[in-house]
């Protein structure tokens, strides 16, 4: 029995020694933690975050007791609760509010580049909502061009008429 115990202890000590050597080797490759890095994790002002959301505390309380209400329900019942609150959904740890092709709003893509912008948004984002925005941009852009064109035609026509009067 003693032999077995001694054997077990010696195996345990050998394993311990081996792991200590491994640890000593790995500690040689350590990268120092700077004071700034320590402060970045220890000096975290939580109140800054809570204060940032003070404006939505009323909506918080309302939804705590009315958990089946949607944005449009709240808008009908008490629209003041939705001041500054967007109707778009966000998922955890997502950073961007809206998806944008190359950081440019989809509406602008459509408005400035017309059908080409619409195609770019459709192909880059594969998002029906953003494509719709680009489409509205395309419609708005076209409408602006039509108005500008009509004004220019009218202006040139009146110039021709008035110049005819003087001759």
């Amino acid at each position: 029995m003693k032999k077995t115990i001694f054997k077990s202890i010696s195996v345990f000590l050998a394993v311990l020694m081996f792991s200590l050597q491994t640890f000593a080797y790995s500690s040689k490759t350590s990268v120092p933690i700077t004071q700034d890095e320590i402060q970045s994790v220890t000096n975290f002002d939580e109140s800054e975050i809570y204060t940032a959301f003070a404006e939505v505390s009323d909506l918080d309380q309302y939804l705590a007791t009315n958990d089946s209400k949607t944005y449009s329900d709240v808008n009908l019942e008490n629209s003041k609760l939705l001041n500054g609150i967007s109707a778009s959904t966000t998922l955890p740890f997502s950073q961007s509010k809206d998806e944008k092709a190359l950081g440019i709003p989809s509406f602008l893509w459509g408005c400035v580049l017309g059908w080409v912008g619409l195609l770019i948004v459709y192909l880059m984002l594969e998002n029906k909502e953003e494509t719709k925005k680009a489409l509205w941009g395309c419609v708005a852009g076209t409408a602006v061009w039509v108005v500008v064109y009509v004004i220019l035609i009218a202006a040139s026509a009146s110039t021709t008429t008035s110049s005819g009067y003087y001759y």
Binding site: V31, V41, F44, T70, L91
Partner: protein
């Protein structure tokens, strides 16, 4: 002597049984609040389901409107009613989500132990253990180092750095609760730094359920099923 051996055996078996308890799925009520760069807010409420065998995160959103999101592989499918509205690329797979870390009990090191980051230093400040995780030395790798602090094996805060040493994001994990032996932080606060400006985020979990039996279809949502 026999008695001692018997006690040792019972101890070993009970340790084995305790460590063998696996957590494979969780369901939580979630609230996500975001303050954007333009000072507008986004407020989202709903239920999240995650099963690590199916590797799908299913978001059943009730506010701002009834919507359904499925995060699978590197895609996020968005549904309204039963209609697929959009498919968006996602940089994070469900296996790298907080839900996966929680179920695997990897939350204390932010899941970095099983990543390409290497723990290169450990320090102790009061009762906080601070670990420096160094990013892989590859020019294509998008992130810099990560500093993680934990207290009593509970993740407290995480700071993500960019490649030039600038802070990208700071996160605090708090209000821990025990659910069927699983430790879950029920509040996560985050500040993200974008070009010198900040966005804020609060994520709250409520009604945490672990290993819910049945309801497989709710966890293993089939994206193709609702494709138009």
């Amino acid at each position: 002597m026999t008695k001692i051996y018997f006690i040792i055996c019972v101890f070993c078996v009970s340790c084995f049984v305790a460590s063998g308890q696996s957590f494979y799925r969780m369901k939580v009520d979630i609230t996500i609040k975001v303050k954007n760069l333009d000072s507008t807010f986004q407020y989202t409420k709903g239920i999240v389901r995650y099963d690590k065998n199916f590797k799908k995160i299913v978001y059943d959103i009730t506010f701002p409107q009834k919507e359904f999101y499925l995060s699978q592989d590197t895609l996020i499918y968005k549904y309204q009613g039963e209609k697929l509205i959009s498919t968006i690329g996602s940089p994070f797979k469900p296996e790298f989500s907080i839900f996966h870390f929680i179920l695997n009990n990897d939350i204390s090191d932010f899941g970095l132990k099983n990543s390409s980051f290497k723990a290169t230093n450990v320090d102790k400040v009061n009762d906080l253990i601070i670990t420096k995780w160094t990013a892989p030395n590859s020019p294509k790798f998008p992130l810099g180092n990560i500093i993680v602090s934990s207290r009593n094996k509970r993740l407290q805060s995480v700071v993500l750095y960019g490649k030039k040493g600038e802070i990208l994001s700071r996160q605090i994990f708090k209000k821990y609760t025990f659910v069927s032996g699983l430790e879950v932080p029920t509040e996560i606060l985050a500040i993200n730094y974008i070009n010198g400006s900040k966005t804020y985020q609060i994520i709250q979990f409520d009604k945490v359920q672990v290993n819910e039996p049945g309801h497989d279809a709710e966890y293993d949502f089939q994206a193709e099923k609702y494709n138009p």
